[in-house]
Amino acid sequence: MAPVDKSKVPWWVSNLIVPLVNLTLALLVSGLFIFIAGENPYEAVRLIIYGSFGYIEGFAYTLYYTTNFVFTGLAFAVAFHCRLFNIGGEGQAYIGGLGVFLVAINFSFLPVPIVWLLSIAGAVVFGAAWAFIPAYLQATRGSHVVITTIMFNFIAASLMVFLLVDVIRDTSQMGPHTVALPKEQWFPSFKDFASLFGIKIRYSPLNISFLLAIAASVFVWFLVWKTRWGYEMRAVGHNTQAAIYAGISPYKNIIIAMCISGGLAGLLGVNEILGVHHKIVAGFPAGYGFTGIAVALMGRNHPIGIFPAAFLFGILYQGGSEVTFDMPNITRYMFVAVQGVIILFSGALENLFRPQIESFFVNRLNIKASA
């Protein structure tokens, strides 16, 4: 089939219809998996919708997961604009959490809002530092970031368990976690907010980090599309040779893109440490870093797409935990598989039906125009 003239394709076809078709395909395949596992896919969908929208605590959980996915999705997207695959969001988030904790605990004599700002900065700096070494090796030695960032995930996990067991463990407790931060440093949660309006909630992990996620989205949009840095990054990503010819250094931009990416992943630590656990718990990134890949690819690496994609994954996660609760044959790993299928259809196989869909709509518009 001859490809259609790209300029004639309306934006909503390539940015809305095609992703939705791909998502539908991915969900159909996922339904098949649930069927193979011996459960009813239709019932699973009902549980997912009830679990994520059916009651206020559930919906708050959905938004809490959304917060995490926005951070890791943006992180992957920024690096991707420079054609870098930062698979290391998981490790960068882990180390970012260490930054949050160390700053918060050591500067607790300062006023709380300043501690918050410093902790956020700590998350960004630690996350960026963890991304810096793979970035530097990619830029200077051509060591592929996919392998190095994966290795840095493993190394981060070992390092953090070592720190949690031998160095910063709360010695009065058994588990591998640190002492809790002072209570006044905890981020206000949705529970506090709801009680202002007289709504009683048992517990909610949703906290003001959600606003930070919105701010981060605006920041990424501004950075990538409105600044010189963003322009240079995208130029290196699209065509390195042309960028060099235009006097843009790929070396510098690879490092900048990866560090910003790592910093954004580090923000996950803010949500988890200041907002939810109030201490470092072993393994707190819990796969959010990998989910960010799916989120970014589904959202076409643009904040406007990433936000709804993150929300969709929030629904899948929260609704998914409802499913695992009610269906003994389904574990949370089923939803890891679902992520893989979504990455496959909205990333690798995104051209599967694109030509057909685009030419269908272009032809229809032509008929309308000539009529």
Binding site: I36, R141, V146, F154, F162, T331, Y333, I343, G347, A348
Partner: protein, 323 residues
């Protein structure tokens, strides 16, 4: 003599631990020499481990389990080819999708079918591969040097260990001494020239991926039906990536890749030995840090003390036939 037997057991475990890495590196050479990036070695190895264990459990024969694992891995390779060769999707994205899909799917299905938090049932002796004792290993045991080398180091491995090291010269021969190998390498270096010569670029890449699937299946089966007697979640533990790093360090060449694989295997064997041992001057190293050594080594090797790695020229680029 204790020192000698220590060394012998270290070399013995190096050979064993390197085995899945060798299979995976050889699999990677086929895919990448043909111009297709394969980060999905990790996922395929995990898939093979799962399918081999489950297949062998239900069918009662480890060879049938291996056969099913080969079918599963070739299918995954074909999926990768379908996305990245035929539909020209991003090869790295396709690999990441396969890896995440398999991590989830294997554990989810193991839990759904066997209900043991992602473990498959333990295989009986009939259902798994056993150690092979080479002929005369017992009688030669007490002969100095030769006995140590033959009986303690070479004998008593799983069949996969021998197959892995036999596969290296075979891969070398196929890739560098046959016309198929010449075409394979040409497709990865300059696909349009190969196309002009009347060779189907897409078919060559699919063939390379099929061989890749067969080889990686052995790595997975080795993990779940030989060294272990069951599948557990994420049991490949990054070996697919280590093998890829070994292959890159080995400059996409079987012999040097083998050396890198053995180096990884040796560090891992050493790492296991070092756990809980008091070292002079340093004292006992925490176990978490020791376990990170292979991963740190991967980064160090990739950073390359031996100069920049030059990949096949057309790697990662989908081939678009001129219209």
């Amino acid at each position: 003599m204790e020192f000698l037997s220590d060394i012998a057991s270290l070399i013995n475990s190096t050979l064993r631990i390197s085995t899945p890495l060798v299979f995976a590196a050889m699999a990677g050479i086929f895919a990448e020499r043909s111009g297709v990036i394969d980060f999905s070695l990790e996922g395929k190895m995990l898939m093979a481990a799962f399918v081999a264990a489950v297949g062998s459990y239900f069918l009662g024969n480890p060879w049938l389990g291996l056969l099913l694992a080969i079918i599963a891995c070739v299918s995954l390779s074909m999926l990768h080819g379908f996305a990245s060769v035929t539909y020209k999707g991003d090869q790295v994205v396709s690999c990441v999708a396969i890896n995440i899909l398999i991590i989830g799917l294997t554990t989810a299905l193991a839990a759904a079918w066997f209900g043991q938090a992602g473990l498959t049932p333990t295989l009986t002796e009939d259902q798994r591969f056993l150690e092979v004792n080479l002929p005369f290993a017992e009688s030669l045991k007490d002969v100095p040097i030769i006995g140590t080398i033959y009986s303690d180091i070479l004998s008593g491995h799983y069949i996969f260990v021998y197959l892995a090291y036999l596969s290296v010269p075979l891969v070398f021969w196929v890739v560098f001494k046959t016309s198929f190998g010449l075409r394979l390498r040409a497709v990865g270096e300059n696909p349009s020239a190969v196309d002009t010569a009347g060779i189907n670029v897409f078919a060559m890449r699919y063939k390379a991926l099929a061989i890749n699937g067969v080889l990686i299946a052995f790595a997975g089966a080795h993990l779940s039906t030989a060294v272990n007697a069951n599948f557990f979640r994420e049991m490949s533990a990054g070996r697919g990536y280590l093998a890829l790093a070994a292959m890159i360090f080995g400059k996409w060449h079987p012999k040097t890749a083998l050396v890198a694989c053995l180096l990884f295997g040796f560090t891992d064997a050493l790492q296991i030995r070092l756990q809980g041992v008091e070292l002079p001057a340093i004292g006992e190293i925490p176990v978490q840090l020791i376990q990170a050594i292979p991963y740190v080594l991967t980064v160090v090797l990739l950073a390359g003390f031996v100069g920049k790695a030059i990949a096949p020229n057309a790697i990662g680029q989908p081939y678009i036939k001129e219209r």
